[in-house]
Each structure stands twice: as structure tokens, then as C-alpha cells.
């Protein structure tokens, strides 16, 4: 599997070096910036800096801007990771390389891991740019336990990767990237506590937030970044992310196997 990981990593690295996907890179940064600017404008000019007590109770903080900036930061992180992972095979299909890939005895896990490992370089670049811009809007950068931040990110990566496999199989089934992924991203932006706590959502919708790893990732990151809590207090959201990852991984792997065959039969049969 190691050879598949390194081969895919280097292949994508070389492709990215020659044709850097600027539109995706800027698009993800801009989507986070829009969230930050929208939160800034509404907070100061619509609500005049006045937060309701229920917000503080649900969010566990009075720092609304940091709340939204971290929401935007992790939303962009999650969307990038989902896009990079879920678009892999459909891109191979569109570029006419899927056959040659599936002919090889390489493991699909190795292929995906190589893809994600390389994609994380770009995602981390976006992450740092958004933090820098967030700091201009009041995101503090002192007294943060970066090790805890890395733990949150690592677990979010694993669970989001698993979820991306499920998304990828839907993309292959519908042979569509745009509608499928954007429907999910809009839903994530709405229900995953990005700009407001999901507790404000009606009961009938709130359950969707519980099946999104991003909801728990954002909670955990805010606890580390804003409240500076100890690792023990992070266990609940981290565990929930792990459980979601463990649920999505077998479902995604199974669906991907079926979709590969489905695409081959539909496309090449």
C-alpha cells in the first residue's frame, strides 16, 4: 500500500506544481472570508454588538467573531478535504485514466490516502491564510495549545475522509460533481454550527447536524481555541467524530467498490 500512497502523492504533487488549482484555492479561502465578513457586518451593524443570552448559553462563549471565524476556518477546511477526496475517481473518469488505474493491482485505500496526503498541503496553506485573515477581524492567536488543535484536525480529517468516500460514490452514481457536492456544502454551512449553534435549529433539522463530523470538529476547535480546555474535556466531541468516521468508512468503502463496478459497466460496458 505504501507504494500506492507515495506514487499517488507524487503524481498529484507534480500535477499541482504544473497546474496549481488557483480557482479552488481562492474559492475556499473566499468562502471562509465571506463567512467572516458577513458575521462581522451583521454583528456590528445589524445587532449592534448585542448577543442574546441563549447564544452564550448554547455557544459557551460571548466572543461571537471568534466563534464565526473558527466556524469559517473549519468549514473551508472540511469542504476542501471533501472536495479533494470525493472528486478523485470522477476526475480520473473524465480525464480517461480510470481504466488504466483500475487495471493495476494497487489498493484503492493507498490511492485515496496518497491523494488526501497531497491535498492536505493545499488545505493547510488555505488554513493558514484564513487564520491570518481571521486575526485581522479579532481572532486571537495567543495561548493556543497547537498540539490540541492538531489532534482535533487529525480526527476531523479521518472522519471527513470517511464521509467523503460516501459523497464520492454518490458523485460517481450521478456522474455529477457540482449539484451533489454543493448541496452537501450548503447543508453543512447551515446545520454544522458554523455561524450559530445548531441548538437554534428546529428539532426536525437538528439531527442532520449530529451526523456531520464538522459539527463536532467545530465544537472541539472552539473549546481548544477560545476556551482553552484540557484534552479530557475534548473527549466527547472527539469520540463522536471517531464514531462517525467508523460508521462512514465501511459504508463509503462498500459503496465505492460498487460504484467502481457500476461506472465501468455504464461507461465501458
Amino acid at each position: 500500500m505504501w507504494l500506492s500512497i507515495s506514487a499517488t502523492f507524487w503524481r498529484n504533487y507534480l500535477v499541482m506544481r504544473r497546474a496549481f488549482p488557483w480557482s479552488f484555492f481562492l474559492g475556499h479561502i473566499l468562502s471562509a472570508i465571506y463567512i467572516i465578513i458577513f458575521a462581522y457586518l451583521t454583528y456590528f451593524f445589524v445587532f449592534k454588538g448585542d448577543l442574546s443570552s441563549s447564544f452564550s448559553a448554547y455557544a459557551g462563549t460571548n466572543d461571537y467573531l471568534s466563534y464565526c471565524i473558527l466556524g469559517g476556518l473549519l468549514y473551508s477546511f472540511s469542504v476542501s478535504l471533501l472536495m479533494i477526496t470525493s472528486r478523485t475517481l470522477i476526475t480520473e473518469l473524465r480525464e480517461g485514466t480510470l481504466e488504466s488505474l483500475l487495471l493495476t493491482p494497487s489498493t484503492r485505500k493507498g490511492y485515496f490516502l496518497g491523494y488526501v496526503a497531497q491535498g492536505l498541503i493545499r488545505i493547510m496553506m488555505e488554513f493558514l491564510v484564513i487564520i491570518a485573515i481571521g486575526s485581522l477581524f479579532g481572532l486571537h492567536l495567543q495561548q493556543i495549545n497547537w498540539f490540541h488543535v492538531l489532534i482535533v484536525l487529525a480526527i476531523l480529517i479521518l472522519s471527513t475522509f470517511s464521509m467523503a468516500l460516501v459523497l464520492s460514490s454518490f458523485m460517481l452514481f450521478f456522474r455529477d460533481t457540482y449539484i451533489t457536492q454543493n448541496t452537501l456544502f450548503v447543508l453543512m454551512g447551515l446545520v454544522c454550527s458554523i455561524t450559530f449553534p445548531s441548538d437554534f435549529l428546529p428539532e426536525g433539522v437538528r439531527w442532520i447536524s449530529h451526523i456531520m463530523p464538522l459539527t463536532y470538529g467545530v465544537d472541539a476547535l472552539r473549546m481548544v481555541w477560545i476556551e482553552g480546555v484540557a484534552i479530557n474535556d475534548l473527549l466527547t466531541p472527539l469520540l463522536k467524530m471517531v464514531i462517525l468516521g467508523l460508521i462512514y468508512l465501511p459504508i463509503g468503502s462498500y459503496l465505492m467498490k460498487r460504484m467502481e463496478k457500476y461506472v465501468l459497466e455504464k461507461h465501458f460496458g
Binding site: L3, S4, S6, A7, T8, W10, R11, L14, V15, R18, A19, E95, G96, T97, E99, S100, L101, L102, L103, T104, P105, S106, K261, L264, E265, F268, G269
Partner: protein, 325 residues
């Protein structure tokens, strides 16, 4: 040996009856097909468009699972032991797909080599050897998007050989290539079979290519094998039309009539020229020996003799005509 026994590939398709109603239909692209490929042998797979050639190749190359029947590669089941089988096979398709255009030729081979679990010096040696074999050593550092069509096809061949497969599937490998490049490729295919003992399955619309290269040919029609033999035997069994053009010293009318009488079921046309006679014969057999005997017995000089032998193309055209009749 690759052996396919009774393989079929069927699909369930929805046929729309009206706006609200659709009906499921089962369509079989390949039906109960038996096929074998030995090491060191080039086998042709021919058929008209939609005959099931590509589906057959996809099944043999593990990309598609047969709906029924079994494919084994040196005894390994192509479905159950797919990973094992994938190491022994590879496929080269015509056109410009199956390569990463933003990578260089060498990077493409390195990527695919690693996916076949090759690494280190072994991989680098293999890449250098293949680039040299297909004449791309000087362009190894050029991105594939800047390659010509012929160069891309040659790189495809190198990609198809990166794992040193025992069996190779060639699906229209010379599609759209210039005559010299196609000829070079044919030479390479011949060498792969004769010198490297690879078993090769070839589909091509260029029937002269199949006739030149293949030891055996399967002809399929609507997913079923209708003929299987050597190209020569297929031609002999299907095409019953030989055209002979012979120019002799002047033939008397009596002799012309005698020839006409003896060659029943043949179309003969005599044209008297100044000092000679030109004869055109369409016969269901090779009439050369008959004419040579006559000329020897009658002391007639042969000035020119041309026999147009039927080709595999004629056989396929005849079969297509018979099927559509």
C-alpha cells in the same frame, strides 16, 4: 494460458414505454463465449461495431465481471483472484486516453510502475528500457500534453508493458496512427509474441494488420463466436472468389471456347490485343494451375499473370453480407 469458458455479459436496461412507464430489458453484449490465448501467440478478435469485442476485452482484463462463465489466467480466476491476475496482464487501447497529460513520459511510467509494486533500481531500469524500446528516450522529460498522437500511443505501449505482463490486450492499438508508426508498432507486437513469449489478444479495424499478425482469429457477431480458425483457413472457408488476370500470346477462338467449356461456374472475359490475348477470370477456386497446364500443353507463352488472392477483409465483408441478407 488465458481461458474463457462460456462467458456472458448481460445488462439490465430500462426501455421507456411512455412518459410515466418504463420496462426493464436484459441485453447481452456477449453470449456464452469460449476463447483461449496461449503464451507467445497473437490472437485476433474481430467483429463489426457492437459485436462485443470491447466488452470481451474488458472482461478478460478484469475491468468487468462476466454475468456467467469463468475466465482463468494460468489457472487463477479473474474474478476471485483479480489482484493476482492484474499483475500478469495489461491493456493498451487506441486513442489518447489512459495517460496523465500533465506528467512527462517518464513520470507516467514511474507512476504506473509503482502501482504495479515496482520500485527502486528495478523500476528505473524498466522505465529506461521501455522508453528506449518505444523511441521516447529523448522526449522522456516532456509533458505528455506536448506529445504528438504517435508519441502518446508509443508511451501507451510502454505503459502497457511496464509490469512485463505475460498477456497483453490490444484494443485498436494503431487507431489513427500514421502508416510508418503503425508499421513500427506491428513489428513491436510481433517481437513481443515471438521473442518475449507474450500472449496477445488484438482487436483492430485494420484487417490487414490482423491478417499479418495473428496466428488465430475469432470472429464474433452479436456477442457470439461465429468463426474461429487461422486467418488463411477462415478466408478459404468464407471467400470463394479468386480473380486471375493473365496475358498470353494470341489465343485462337477454338481454344477460347474450349477454356470456357471446361471452366464452368466461372466468369471469363477474353480481350484480343494486337499480339496477345488478355483474360480475366472470376472463379470459386484458384484457376492458376489450370491455365498454366493449358499454356504448357498448347505451347502458349504467358506474358503476364496476376492472381488477386482473397483477404481477411473479403471474408469479413462476405460474412457481414450473409448476416444482413
Amino acid at each position: 494460458m488465458i481461458e474463457a469458458k462460456g462467458i456472458s455479459k448481460c445488462y439490465t436496461i430500462k426501455k421507456r414505454m411512455n412518459f410515466f412507464r418504463s420496462e426493464k430489458q436484459i441485453v447481452c453484449a456477449v453470449k456464452k463465449l469460449d476463447l483461449s490465448i496461449n503464451e507467445g501467440e497473437i490472437v485476433g478478435l474481430l467483429g463489426l461495431n457492437g459485436a462485443g469485442k470491447t466488452t470481451t476485452i474488458k472482461m478478460l482484463s478484469t475491468l468487468l465481471n462476466p454475468t456467467e462463465g469463468q475466465i482463468t489466467v494460468d489457472g487463477d480466476d479473474a474474478v476471485k483472484d483479480a489482484m493476482k491476475v492484474k499483475k500478469k496482464i495489461n491493456m493498451i487501447a487506441g486513442g489518447e486516453r489512459m495517460l496523465y497529460w500533465r506528467l512527462t513520459g517518464e513520470e507516467n511510467l514511474r507512476y504506473f510502475g509503482k502501482l504495479y509494486q515496482l520500485s527502486g533500481l528495478q523500476l528505473e531500469k524498466r522505465i529506461a528500457y521501455l522508453l528506449d524500446q518505444v523511441g521516447l528516450s529523448d522526449s522522456k522529460d516532456v509533458p505528455v500534453e506536448l506529445y504528438s498522437k504517435g508519441m502518446k500511443q508509443r508511451l501507451q505501449i510502454a505503459r502497457g508493458l511496464i509490469n512485463d505482463p505475460k498477456y497483453l490486450f490490444l484494443d485498436e492499438p494503431t487507431l489513427g496512427l500514421d502508416a510508418p508508426v503503425a508499421k513500427q508498432l506491428r513489428g513491436l507486437v510481433k517481437d513481443l509474441a515471438s521473442q518475449e513469449n507474450k500472449g496477445i489478444l488484438l482487436t483492430s479495424h485494420y484487417l490487414e494488420e490482423v491478417e499479418e499478425l495473428c496466428d488465430r482469429v475469432y470472429i464474433i457477431e452479436k456477442g457470439t463466436i461465429i468463426l474461429h480458425d487461422t486467418p488463411e483457413k477462415i478466408i478459404a472457408s468464407v471467400v470463394k472468389n479468386y480473380h486471375l488476370m493473365i496475358e498470353t500470346s494470341s489465343l485462337s477462338v477454338a481454344l477460347q471456347n474450349k477454356i470456357k467449356k471446361e471452366l464452368v461456374n466461372c466468369t471469363i472475359q477474353f480481350t484480343d490485343l494486337t499480339d496477345s490475348t488478355s483474360i480475366h477470370i472470376d472463379a470459386p477456386f484458384d484457376p492458376t494451375s489450370f491455365f498454366i497446364n493449358i499454356c504448357m500443353n498448347e505451347a502458349i507463352s504467358i506474358l503476364k499473370l496476376e492472381l488477386k488472392r482473397p483477404r481477411l477483409e473479403d471474408a469479413i465483408l462476405t460474412l457481414a453480407k450473409e448476416k444482413s441478407a
